[in-house]
């Protein structure tokens, strides 16, 4: 048999495995972006403390550092591998493609992580135990290591969107994949957001210091207001450049939701500008509860939709515009010797190429038709849709009943055939043999109608 290198399907009812990733991803972004932003902020503060010989700033850095150890270095360093592990379970071939291309980049990033983590412990615990100049130098290296981790991951996640030109497909070179069209705009967009996050978290720390030292607390609250404002501005500026470097399929998805995204971003921008201005003008009004709430606001209203959007814009691909979300390879990559699998799937069907089909389900019979239909639907569609009635993740049932208004097997089948021709830009162009469409359509119809 002509098997393809597919892996077992892992599927979480109602929310899909993608939600697990979204959740872990959102937490990770909050933690990791704060950590890089804070590293830059620390470099600035340590510089100031050294130049102006100010001991009180170390106090602030120490508190901030303690918070970071938990927020960024506990939660961030676990959710980092966490995204990876969950992405592997949800999309093994997507991760595999990235790893087999970028393993040395990730390994380099790992060296930076090690340095970063040892340095942050040193930085926090050495305060008061080493001289200011040595501490400053250590802080500089820490900041550079932190920014280095961003520099290394950014090319990989940008490649997930697309390389931006054909060079990679022809050469197969990791450098061509890494430095794509949207790598740098994406990088500066994130740097801006990181700086802003360091301000958002910095406000929590500074507002909690009121009782011990009002003056210092107000001074730092004001500074954090500026930091947040500058970061937010940089992020917004580069966001616009970034959007213009996205592929055409992203526009299609963006088109579906653009208005609500822009609305969401405008509201966020206004809200946080007001917040930062308040911090600058009336620092005494910023209390620690407000500061904590604003952190959650940015996570729930800013990062979570942003993550969902980034995932959507990549559709129908999961990585490099050559692997579909449902794990089928969509095109040749001559530079790597990778061949498109769309043709063999069309000829033999998923049942003919999936190594994980038990013998009793290999051939469709009237008895096993629904069971096969369910499995094939999971294989072909569940990476992007939850399949249950009332599912939360781009519910397939709801899309069939509400968006295209088809509820009987025959029209569902004909709609899937349309998807198979590739005329819907955000869904994979995968044609299947007739009897597989039948089995899937019949199963979907029974789900809709019971």
């Amino acid at each position: 048999m002509d098997y393809l290198g597919l892996f077992p399907v892992f599927y979480v009812p109602d929310v899909g495995s993608a939600w697990l990733m979204g959740l872990t991803g959102t937490i990770h972004i909050m933690a990791s972006h704060t950590s890089v932003g804070a590293a830059m902020l620390f470099a600035f503060l340590a510089h100031k403390a050294y130049k102006e010989d100010r001991d009180d700033l170390y106090d602030y850095m120490k508190r901030y550092g303690m918070f970071l150890l938990i927020f960024s270095y506990v939660i961030g360093s676990i959710t980092g591998p966490g995204i990876w592990y969950t992405a592997t379970a949800a999309s093994p071939r997507g991760i595999s493609a990235l790893i087999h291309n970028f393993v040395w980049v990730w390994a380099t990033e790992w060296v930076f992580f090690i340095y970063e983590v040892i340095a942050v412990f040193a930085l926090v615990y050495f305060i008061g135990k080493i001289d200011k100049k040595t501490h400053l130098k250590l802080t500089y290296t820490f900041a550079l290591a932190s920014v280095g981790t961003l520099a290394l991951i950014i090319g990989i996640i940008s490649f997930m969107m697309w390389p931006g030109n054909d060079a990679f497909y022809n050469t197969g070179s990791a450098s061509d994949a890494f430095f794509g069209l949207n790598t740098f705009p994406h990088m500066f967009l994130r740097i801006g957001f990181m700086v802003m996050m360091s301000g958002v978290i910095g406000l929590i720390i500074s507002s909690a210091m009121k009782r011990e030292n009002v003056e210092l607390s107000n001074e730092l609250t004001r500074k954090m207001g500026y930091v947040g404002l500058i970061g937010g501005f940089v992020a917004l500026f580069f966001f616009m450049w970034y959007i213009s470097t996205l592929p055409a399929n992203a526009d299609a998805v963006l088109g579906l939701t653009l208005d609500s995204i822009i609305f969401n971003r405008i509201i966020l921008a206004i809200m946080f500008s007001l917040y930062f201005f308040l911090a600058i003008l009336k620092p005494q009004w910023i209390g620690k509860y407000l500061a904590v709430i604003m952190m959650f606001v940015i996570g729930i209203v800013g990062v979570w939709p942003g993550e969902k959007l980034r995932e959507s814009m990549r559709k129908p691909y999961v990585a490099g515009q050559y692997i579909y979300s449902n794990q089928i390879i969509s095109r040749d990559v001559p530079g790597k010797g990778v061949k498109s699998e769309v043709e063999v799937v069309a000829a033999k069907g998923l049942l003919g190429v999936d190594p994980w089909v038990p013998e009793r389900l290999r051939t469709i019979t009237p008895e096993n038709k629904l069971e096969v239909g369910e499995y094939l639907t999971k294989r072909a569609c569940s990476n992007c849709h939850s399949l249950e009635k009332g599912g939360k993740y781009r519910s397939m049932i709801a899309l069939f009943t509400d968006k295209v208004q088809m509820t009987d097997a025959a029209s569902i089948k004909s709609y899937m055939q349309v998807i198979g021709t590739g005329s819907i830009p955000y869904m994979p162009k995968i044609a299947l043999p007739d009897e597989e469409y039948d089995a899937m359509a019949e199963w979907i119809a029974t789900q809709i109608n019971n």
């Binding site: 379970a89 991760i95 087999h100 970028f102 550079l144 994980w356």
Partner: protein
């Protein structure tokens, strides 16, 4: 299912370098992961006992906060050090890694959140213990149990990944009915018991080091030094004996007892035992412990290699798509920047650790600290310059 499926499940893009290099790096970096897993389990475990004694016992009062601090750092490091073997193993053993992750997908998710919960509770334990000069035992115990549970899940992934394709098929579709819930679990008690038992001797040797380190500082009493040394000796010797027995059992189970690597491991453990019992300078024992750890990591890899090649998996025949620039980046970063940078911080940490009560270190007066610091900073700046230059060149080449 046919065993050649293992070859089909390899990534069609090939590996970017020779598989044997990944295999070597895997053995090396997993040994590092394991070392800190064991130190974390050992120091954390003992600290729970200590947290009950430290209110009344002067020696425990000094030792216990340090044990907790060691546990805290070790958990951070074990997580970080786990990343590298995670990379290297999946590059060359695609089938095992991805199948284990999908068949156990729900546990993967649980693992992450359990670990977060455990580590947060650890911090709770740490602060509770610090504030009251002892105690926090209950929350610490819960955290400890979750850490152990995480280890069991890790072990589960490892066991599934070295199962045979027929066993996978039985997990995925028991009785021919497909199950996509990702709730499979598998274990191998002897292997797990052996690996976890190593926490005891690792803790023992760590305590010996600790004792040697504080013995040169005037603010630690001779009584304390000998207390920690004796404790270390006891754990090292008893632990090594337990681990040795479990190791032999494991090797018998795997039919590898007479294999040269297995025999070499046994010899190395015996040498370690003798060193732990008699050697005055425990830092040398630690160096030898690294060798033993590499042997044990090697045995794990040998078992996997034997199973997979026995099934027809051709590891060294994995198509190679040579990728020079990024490996050049990794090797130079790892060897030059990594080692210099870590040496820089460890030098400072050593000096700070040796400070007597209340003193501060003037790094500018130490030639080693100044030089290492300047070189590290310079290397980071250079690294950034090269990175951006490289990116610009590629972008110009591909877009103009």
């Amino acid at each position: 299912m046919d065993a050649t499926i293992l070859n089909v499940l390899r990534d069609p893009a090939g590996v970017p370098f020779f598989p044997v290099v990944f295999q070597g790096l895997y053995i090396l970096t997993w040994a590092l992961h394991a070392a800190f897993v064991l130190l974390a389990l050992g120091s954390f475990g003992l600290s729970l006992y200590g947290s009950m004694k430290q209110k009344h016992d002067a020696n425990w009062k000094v030792l216990n906060p340090h044990l907790i601090q060691t546990g805290k750092l070790s958990i951070s490091l074990l997580i970080l050090l786990g990343i590298a073997p995670l990379l290297f193993t999946q590059v060359i053993y695609d089938a095992g890694w991805y199948v284990a992750n999908t068949l156990s997908g729900a546990w993967v998710f649980i693992f992450i959140y359990a670990l977060i919960a455990a580590y947060l509770m650890f911090y709770w334990y740490y602060y509770a213990n610090k504030r009251n000069g002892g105690g926090g035992t209950f929350i610490g115990l819960i955290s400890f149990l979750i850490v152990v549970f995480c280890g069991i899940l890790m072990h589960n992934f490892a066991v599934i990944s070295i199962s045979t394709p027929d066993q996978w098929m039985e997990m995925y579709a028991p009785g021919g009915v497909i199950d996509t819930s990702g709730l499979n679990l598998a274990w191998d008690i002897v292997r797990l018991a052996f690996l976890v038992s190593l926490a005891i001797p690792v803790l023992g040797i760590f305590l010996q080091n600790y004792s040697d380190f504080v013995s040169t500082k005037s603010d630690y009493s001779a009584d304390f030094v000998s207390f920690t040394r004796k404790l270390g000796n006891k754990f090292a010797v008893i632990g090594l004996l337990i681990s040795a027995v479990l190791f032999v059992l494991w090797m018998m189970q795997e039919n590898l007892l007479m294999h040269p690597v297995s025999l070499a491991t046994i010899v190395s453990v015996v040498i370690l035992l003798i060193m732990a019992m008699f050697l005055k300078n425990s830092y040398i024992t630690t160096l030898w412990l690294v060798v033993v750890a590499l042997f044990i990591s090697g045995i794990r890899e040998l078992i996997r290699y034997n199973i997979m090649s026995g099934l027809g998996y051709d590891l060294y025949g994995y198509p190679v798509n040579l990728e020079i620039p990024t490996i050049a980046m990794f090797l130079s970063t790892f060897v030059i920047l990594g080692f210099t940078g870590v040496a820089y911080i460890l030098t400072m940490a050593w000096k700070v650790g040796k400070l007597e009560n209340g003193a501060t270190l003037d790094g500018t007066k130490s030639a080693a600290v100044t030089k290492l610091g300047n070189i590290t900073l310079g290397l980071f700046v250079l690294w950034m310059l090269i990175y951006f230059a490289w990116g610009m060149i590629i972008l110009f080449k591909n877009t103009l």
